[in-house]
Structures are given as structure tokens and as C-alpha cells.
Symmetry: D2
Subunit: 348 residues, 4 copies
């Protein structure tokens, strides 16, 4: 860190700061100028900069390194590509995950899987355990729901992603799904993140609605530090003063994260807007901005969905959206969900 002393700071105050930094394990470099003293501190463990900030004579304390390591592009300059069977996330192709908010019945799950497969999705999404703000709302089918999702995914040759809310669910969900999802409210559930670091399945970490990009990357760091290098990030909207949309989908987070980190970035326009009629424009925007993938709620019959029907696309809307995305992806040197035979020669 860099400690900037006040213009009137005394020699004793400077000494006190240096002593504190040394106690925190830093090597200290002092520059005294005509106007003020600046102290550089390197090599220490990540100490709480506020311990220095509250000392007398200190003007400001500036951190000079990002607090995450394994998630950083400095650690790994090339993009991480996560392989799930024959699906490659973070490569040349923009990957689309789609499906209903929750598994409800065998028919609903199967019809939804068929619809998203037909339109070109590669990964099926669906919840079996749901975080709900009211105790009286539908809480998900649990393991029987997972069984329905897995069987529909297999029938339609799709991979499967589903949310895990608690460490007690990990073992069960791992048996059924290909990717584990951490929801926005659990982004700082450190117990859960640590446990997922031991999993052999890829994990997708959603950004909390008030999480900075740095906090989000730190949550990914928890999983990476546990030894699981297959982590992808998912932007799903932040809370701002604007209340017309449920959240403000932060499209600029896509290029920012791609600069800071090597991990793939997925975008969720369904939760990011909360309204069906805004999903398609924001999905197109995400691909145009360079997202590595999308996760979209599609339901065979949204009017009767047991949760989030208002933000779920009808299959025909999803078909049209996929066609639009196929036009956009080449603008950034990528393709989208074309059959293997047709997929050749894209550079990035």
C-alpha cells in the first residue's frame, strides 16, 4: 500500500506509521518531498489498511494490488475455457443456457428442454431448490426435481446447470448436474464457496445485487483457492436508484471483468430486467459487448409457471432471439450454437 502523509505531519507521526507497517510485515520505502512524505509498503500480508488510516498525520492510504490472485489476468493471461463434455465455455462460441425457473412436472420439464434444444441452447437450466422471499411460496421439488431435469437434459442431449443453496445440498446436486450455480444472495456465503472449492464440477458464481466487481472476483477466488479452477461468473443486475427495471443490468461489467480476469462471463438478462419484454434487447446487448454466454429463462407455458413466469420467454420468443444472436455474434468474431459440422474458421 501507499501511505500519503498530511502536509503538516510531524516526524514522529511518520515514524509511528512506519512502525505500524513494519509490525504488519511490510517492507517500507520512504520518500520525503518538499510538501509531504509518501510511504510505500510492499511484501506484507494483506493487512487492513484502516489500521494505518486512523493514525495521526495520515492523509490517505492507497492499496496498490488487487486482493485476488488466482482470478486475476496477471496470474493467467490467457482465457480460461471450461469444458463440459463437448461444450466449451469461454471459447469461440457464445454458449446459451436456457430453461424454466423451476422444475414443476415431467411434461413441463420435457417440453421446455425440447424447446430450448431446438432453438440452439447447449445447456439446460432449472431449479429444484428455490430461495423465496416468502415462506408460503413454492419452494421447489427438491431431489425429484433434479431427477426430472437430468432425465430431460439427457433425452435432448443437453448439459445441466442447477442452483445449490446450502452445503448440505452439494452432494445430491452434484450427482445430477454438470454445473453448480451459486445464487446472487449466496455470493458471500463463504462456507458454501469454500466447500465448492473441493468439488470437481464447474461452478457459476452470480454477482450479488450490490457487489462490486472486486468483491465478486474475491468470491470466485474462494473457490479457485480450494482447488477448483473451473469457475465462471454471471452478471445479473445491480441495485441502483432507478426502479423502472427490477435491477440495472451492468453490461459494462463484461469488458471490465474480461480485462481483470481470465474467467468466462455469462449474463442473465431474465433476472437482470425481471420483465419478459426487456430480455431480448439485453441478451443482444450482452452478446454484442462480448459475453461468453447467456442464461435465459424459457418456459413452455409462462402464464402458468409456478415462479418467475413474468420474466420467462415463450419458446417462440426464444427462437427469434437466437436468430438475432446468430447475426450479432460474428461482429465480435464469434459464433453461436451452430452444429459442429458448420462451425469452422472463427478467429476471436
Amino acid at each position: 500500500m501507499v501511505v500519503v502523509m498530511q502536509e503538516r505531519a510531524t516526524g514522529e507521526q511518520v515514524e509511528r506509521v512506519i512502525a505500524q507497517l513494519v509490525e504488519m510485515g511490510f517492507d517500507v520505502h520512504r520518500s520525503t518531498g518538499a510538501l509531504r512524505t509518501v510511504i510505500g509498503a510492499v511484501g506484507g500480508k494483506t493487512g487492513d489498511p484502516r489500521l494505518v488510516e486512523v493514525l495521526d498525520g495520515v492523509q490517505e492510504v492507497l492499496r496498490i494490488t488487487e486482493p485476488y490472485k488466482l482470478a486475476s489476468r496477471t496470474f493467467r493471461p490467457e482465457n480460461t475455457v471450461i469444458t463440459v463434455g463437448d461444450v466449451r465455455i469461454g471459447g469461440d462460441e457464445v454458449i446459451v443456457m436456457a430453461g424454466p425457473c423451476s422444475a414443476e412436472t415431467e411434461e413441463q420439464v420435457d417440453a421446455s428442454a425440447a424447446a430450448v434444444k431446438r432453438a440452439g441452447a447447449k445447456i439446460f437450466r432449472g431449479g429444484a431448490y428455490k430461495p423465496r422471499s416468502s415462506p408460503y411460496s413454492f419452494q421447489g421439488l427438491g431431489e425429484p426435481g433434479l431427477r426430472l431435469l437430468r432425465s430431460a437434459a439427457d433425452r435432448h442431449n443437453l448439459k445441466l446447470i442447477s442452483e445449490v443453496m446450502d452445503i448440505s445440498q452439494i452432494e445430491t446436486i452434484e450427482q445430477y448436474t454438470d454445473i453448480l450455480q451459486v445464487g446472487a444472495r449466496n455470493m458471500q456465503n463463504f462456507t458454501l464457496l469454500r466447500e465448492l472449492g473441493k468439488s470437481r464440477k464447474p461452478v457459476m458464481v452470480k454477482r450479488g445485487i450490490s457487489a462490486t466487481i472486486e468483491e465478486w472476483l474475491l468470491s470466485a477466488e474462494y473457490i479457485l483457492a480450494g482447488g477448483n479452477m473451473n469457475v465462471m461468473l454471471c452478471e445479473r443486475g445491480i441495485r441502483t436508484f432507478e426502479s423502472y427495471t427490477r435491477n440495472t443490468l451492468d453490461i459494462s461489467a463484461i469488458p471490465v471483468v474480461q480485462q481483470l480476469s481470465h474467467l468466462p462471463v455469462i449474463v442473465d438478462p431474465s433476472h437482470g430486467t425481471g420483465r419478459r419484454d426487456k430480455v431480448a434487447p439485453m441478451a443482444r446487448a450482452a452478446v454484442a459487448a462480448g459475453a461468453d454466454g447467456l442464461i435465459i429463462e424459457v418456459h413452455c407455458d409462462p402464464d402458468h409457471a409456478m415462479s418467475d413466469g413474468a420474466q420467462s420467454l415463450f419458446p417462440s420468443q426464444f427462437d427469434r432471439l437466437m436468430a438475432e444472436l446468430r447475426t450479432i455474434a460474428p461482429a465480435i468474431g464469434r459464433g453461436i450454437c451452430v452444429e459442429p459440422a458448420a462451425r469452422r474458421g472463427w478467429g476471436r
Copy 2:
């Protein structure tokens, strides 16, 4: 809810909306004016208003009731007073909870308890299980820490509050503490809230940094709905664009919550500002605005605290603050931490 149709909405569109509302279990009242139709819907279960919002011809959907019941002043007009031994939270006296961020050693715990008791605190605070953003940081002492806290509290005749992070910890923590605390990051950990509804100990729910007042009251509702009526709320700062302070302590939430709800409101100026030198002004402001209590970090030796030292008060600072608060409290017809013999005749 009230559904406002667009000026050009057709009769069919109106019928479609009514059909949807009836399907959701509402009784419907239709008012047709010169310019537009407004549909009132009452008596249904709490349905997702977005299901109506996305229908053709709908201008806007307005919710007319708060979604919480037991936490509302409509349900219980008089203030809830929570009794913990001879301490009454929500009554005429402003209650101060104080102590170190974490239990570290027997000496540190005891010295801190002695200091806060001497100054007039009634409840001792201290953590044994800590949520930390880095996996390499001090994680708390666990049960031995609770033992130290309990024993110091008893020695100095203080009640004890400590944080519970996970349902697996409830049983242990309940044995040692008088009040259970839910941290800001767990405010929407619904599994934990539901389980605390079964506890016989009072619970203090901290507001999440981006939680609206309504969401905060809904989290309290989870505990109340489980049968535990001894719930208090704790404001600890919200995230805004202003980054000079760690968070923006929302002092106006105090009178707002007191209008909407009967539950006591505590304020945490330590986490709310993140800086020792801002704790006293904000503690004074909270009492002046009508807070039922404060929770403040005080450490016998903040410079060597294992966590949050920068926001912990020195005992002498806490003494001075308590004296200031004693001057302020009578302005709103309350007293603060005076010995029982001296405490007579306050009206509110």
C-alpha cells in the same frame, strides 16, 4: 393490488387482466372512467404482480398492502418491549451493547467487558464465529470463544449477544448467549431465519447493505412467523455512491421503521462508518433520532485487535461518548443506562 390500464386499452385486454386476477384468487372491482379503466383486486394470496404487469394494455400495477403482517404496526400498534433478565429493549431506556469485534483471549475479553460495564453498557457483544472475506483471515475462536464471552459477561453482570452464521451453530450459541445476532450478509439466508423462528432466544436482524426497509421487515417476518416474537432490527449502513465512509448509515431508517413496525431498532455506528473517529457523532445522531439502542465495538487495545481494530473505540472514548449520550437522551424523553435507583419518572 390496483391495476391501471392504458388509455387505449381494449375491452378484451381488460377482460384478460380480470381473468388473470381471478385465477390468482382475487376479488375484482372495476372502475371505468372517461379516460381509462382502473381495476382493484383484493383478498388474494400474495401473487407476483409482474404476472399482470406483462399483459397487453396494462399501464402499471400498484401494490396496496405491505407484504409483511406480524412485523407491521397495523398488526400490533404498541411498541414491542423485549425483556432479557432485567434489561428491557424497546422501553424508556436506550440500551447500549458494546464489546470487541471478536473474542481473542481471556484477558482481552475480560478487560473489554469491565470497561464497557463501567461506562454503562448493559449488554456485552463479541464474536466467536466470524464471516471474513479472505480465507486466510482470523476466523474466530468458535465455542471456546463463546465460553470466554459468557464467563466475562457473568463476572461483570452483563447480558450477551453474539452472531450466528449457520443453522449448525444455533444450538451451541444458544447455550451461551442471551441474544442471537443475524449478520447483514445473512439477512436473506432464509433457512437460517426460519430456524431462528423456533428459538426461544431474542434475535437481532441486521439490515443488508443493499436491503430496502421492506425487505428487512420481511426478514424479521420470517422469524416472527416461526413463533419467535422477540425480534429487534439493527441498522448498520447501506451502500451508496459515496465512498468516503465505508457505508452510509441511514439514520432516517430509525423513524421510518418505528412508524411501520412495532419492533425495536438498534443502530451500529461502528460498521456503519468503519472508522473510529466517526463512531461517536453517529452514535449521538442515532440516539437523537430515537433509536432504541446502540451496538458499538469497544476493545481494550484496538491497535492490536485481530479484526476491525480501526473501528473499535478505546475505553476512554467510549466513556466520553456515554456521557454525551446521557445528555441527549432526555431530549426525546428517554434515559440511558443509569442505575435502577436513579431511573424514575421518564415518560416517552
Copy 3:
């Protein structure tokens, strides 16, 4: 407006509310249910709903109409197309405005105009009067700057847009430019807006960094109400807790505004991100989401620009971006800056 009374509201309280509404000029409709009374009020002038909100017994006051009229799609269902010579803003073609932040020298202005014309821009942008946060910064060339801009625009067959900061500048700027721009900090300079309502030139209103979409449309309303119907809106980023980018460009505002209003929406990715390397992804996202146009800072030599060099594109970067945009636009049934001969058969 709709007034929802508290469950325990007395008959007298209801009467008091009705009297207030009648005094405000509303026709009142009262519905009394088993649980509570709801009062509908229509036809009054736009009264301050807080006058009712503070009355005893009132639970909530809900506004049922947007406060703007002329800017609303209800008033005018079809899109407004603004014609500036042979350029049509809000039509099938996505219009790109580009140029330097400020006019500096004849060479710089001409070279920049040549570069943006070559790449396909239709409108030249450049400032002659600059709002600067420091009194010591470059304040713009004033009228001589306008002369340079106009002459370069004419030479390269471009239309011209430039910012007006004060009513005293309107007359001068109108002589040189085709479109007048209101900056974000002036979005609520009502004196200026009112005066622009009398202008015969189109006006582009930038969104304030903390303006809601409703406030933004109200500012447009000021100009429309003055009789100038050629108003376009410009999204340029809102202030949020995320500080990695200078602002958070609110891409979702594009479809939201297009639903609420008939006015064209332009997007400014240069100010919206503040960093050159984020301009292209956000420009692509804006077009993919359906923006009617873009306004982009391009400078012939950004390293030596007198203002905003860090967010100005090099001409070669702008060329590449325009090529990408030409791939994206057809995905939403639009074209972009192609010469008239080539432009046929686009539906929207």
C-alpha cells in the same frame, strides 16, 4: 391518484382525505372493503401527493398517471422521426454522431471531421463551450470554435451538433449548428429548457447522472411544451456504487424509454464509460439493444487532446467499430450509415 387508508383509519380520517382531494380539484371515488378503504381520485391538476400522504390514517398514496404528456407514447403511438437535411433520426437507420470533445485548431477539427465522415458518421460533434469542474481548465474556444466546426462539417458534408450551456449562448450556437445539445448537468436547468422550447432546431437532452427515466422525460416535456417537437434523448451513464467505470451506462434504459415514449434514444458510450477501451463494446451493446443512434468521441490525436483524450477513439478504432456495428444492426432490422444507393429494403 389512489389513496390507500390504514386498516384502522376512522371515518373522520377518510372524510379529511376526501376533503383535501376535492380541494385539489379531483373527482373522488370511494371503495370501502372489509379491511380497508381505498379512495380513487381523478381529473385534478397534478397535485403534490405528499399533501395527502401526511394526513392521519393514510397508508400510502399511489400515482396512477405519468406526469408527462407530450413525451408519452399514449400521446403519440408512432415513433418520432427527426429530419435534419437528408438525415433521419429515429427511422430505419442507426445514426452515428462523432467528433472531438472540443474544437481546438482548424487542423484538428478538419482532420477529425474527415476521419469520422470516412468511417460513415452522418453528424459531426464538437464543443465550443465546455463545462469544466476546475476554473483553471481549458474552457473552450467559444464562437471561433463554432466557426471551425461548421466549416469542417460543411466541407465534409456532415450535420453538426454542439452543446449549449446557458440561455445567453442559444442565439449564437443556433447560427452554426443543426442540433443543440443539453448536457447532463443542465438536464434540470429549467430556464434553459424553456428557452429551447422556442427554438426551431432539434434538441438532444442528455440524462443527468442521477436522473430517473421519469425525470428525464419531464425535462424533454419542458421543451415539447414550448412548441419544439424535435427532441431526442441521450443516455450517458448513471452514478451507482460501482466505481470501476466512471458511470454505469444504463443500456436497459433504451428499451424502457422506447416503450414509454415516442422520442428517439441516442447513447453516448464515451462519457458512459470514460475509458477508450470500453467504448467499442458498449457502442455495440447499445445498437444491439435498439438505440436509434450513437454519439462518440473521436479525435485525430487523442494523446494530445485538450480535454477527454482518455475516452476519445483513434480514427482507426472508430473505423473498426463502424464495421462491427454494420454487422449488428441488421439483427434488429436496421441499417447503419450506408450510402443511399445501398440502402434498400430494410423493414424494422
Copy 4:
């Protein structure tokens, strides 16, 4: 500024950064460590740090000095006390300014002045020129309103503050008032600020609803730099995600500004909350946190006020509030609006 290079930055990239800094007029100090190079730059003019930020190999650019000088406590360590006749703002006494939102009639102005004087206010407030979001709303009486305000202030031995919206109004308003107020929407109207730097009257600058504390101090700097050293600041609420109150009054800004600057800080709880029933708690909180003064809307008949009636106190409410404030002020070593004879011996 301090430039932190990336770990992999090449020697050439470092040289390029140094060249840019030198061109910007800085003296450069280079520290090369095992891991990375850090470049310190001092003595230059305030350059745009983004010009360095966009260079290859740069990790981060940290500013090491606040951009304001005259407003800073470094420039002037002791508090500024502004003298208006026998009223001293920023001294031992907390000064209360009160009065109606707008001047309406002679009777209303006089009755309001009498009421606030009786309760202990020292300065009368009232608007003659009003910024209104709708063109159809009451726009203020203009100069005749100023005449009413001045005459009532004189009759009741009060000083007068009123808002100036435009440079064309300065000359007129200066003739009638003792203090000029800059409204929140004009906080970055640089033309107006510059002109007020030439005035001989004290100026109160309200914080914009989305202005950082730094931006607010920069606006004060504009006036100070023009030679007018009698500047006071006014906190009146910031825009956050919480919409229950109109704005979130940022009480913590009081101690923060008092640490950074020597200028007095006034708080406006009327606009800060927008609701009469929240004004008193927030006024008490402001004084308890150390505010140098308050500005409060009081109307002799709020129910019939032509603007902002919902947030105006009744005279009896204002009386009660003043009594509460007199109890609180001594807690921070201050007094409040006591007659000169009674005012002795307060330390701060």
C-alpha cells in the same frame, strides 16, 4: 499521483508512462521492486489521470492530493466563522434558519417570520424564485417576494437567506438578502458559482443529490477562488436505492466535511426527508452529530402552502423541536439560539 505498473510491464512501457508524466509537468520518482514498478509524480498541474490510466502496462493510477485547496483544512486548520451582523455561523452556537418554502402573501410571510423568531431562529428563509419540475407550477413572486421577505425579516430582527438560480438574479437578490443560497440542482452551475465568487455576501452551497463530498467541496472552491471566503455548505440528502424517504439524509457527511474542510456545515432536514413527520428526528440527529446549523421549512399554515407544504412544520412543531435541540446541543459543547445575555462560557 502514483502510477502502479502491471507485474509484467516492460521497460518500454515504463518509459512511455514517464514521458507522459513529464509532458504533463510532473517531477517523477521511479521505484522498481522485485514484483513491479511504482512511479510517483509530484508538482504537476492537476492533469487528467486517465491519460496515464489508458497507457499499456499501467495497472492503476492513484491520486494523492485532494483537488481543492482553499476549501481544505490543510489550507486553513481553524474553523471558518461567518459573521452576519451579530450572528456567527460556525462558532459555538448552532444557528437555525427557518421560514416558508416560498413567499406568498404579506400576511403569510409576516406570520411565519414571527413564529420562527419566537422559537429562537436567527435567520429567516424563504424563496422568491423557485426551481419547479413542472412549467405549470407556482414559480415564485420574484422581486416583490423579496421585498416581503426583507421587510418581515427586519420587523422581527432576523437575517435573511434566499435562493439565487441564475446570474441575472444576483444583483437583485443581493440587495434584499444577507446570505445567497445555491440550490442542489445548481451545485455544478459553474457560471453561477464563478459569479458568486465576486459577491460580498456569504453563500450557502447545497449538495447535489448525487454529488460526492469531493465534488461538493470543489463547487465551494469555485466561489472561494473568486475571492469570496464566506462560504457555508448544506447537506440536504442524497439519492440512494431506498425510496421510502424522498432522499437519504447523509448525516455522516457532517463529521467527514468537518475533518476535510474548515467551512461551516448546515443541514436541511426538510428537503432531506420530504416529510414533515421525519423532520424533527433528523434535525435532532444533525445537531447531535455536530452540524453548525439547520435550515428548516416552517409555514404558518402548511396545509395551504403553495409549495412543499407536506414537509413544512407547523409553528407549534417547530417550538417543540427547538426545545429538544436546546437539550441536545450542550452534549457537544454548544448552545443554541439563546439570547445574548444567557450565552456565556461554552467551550467547544
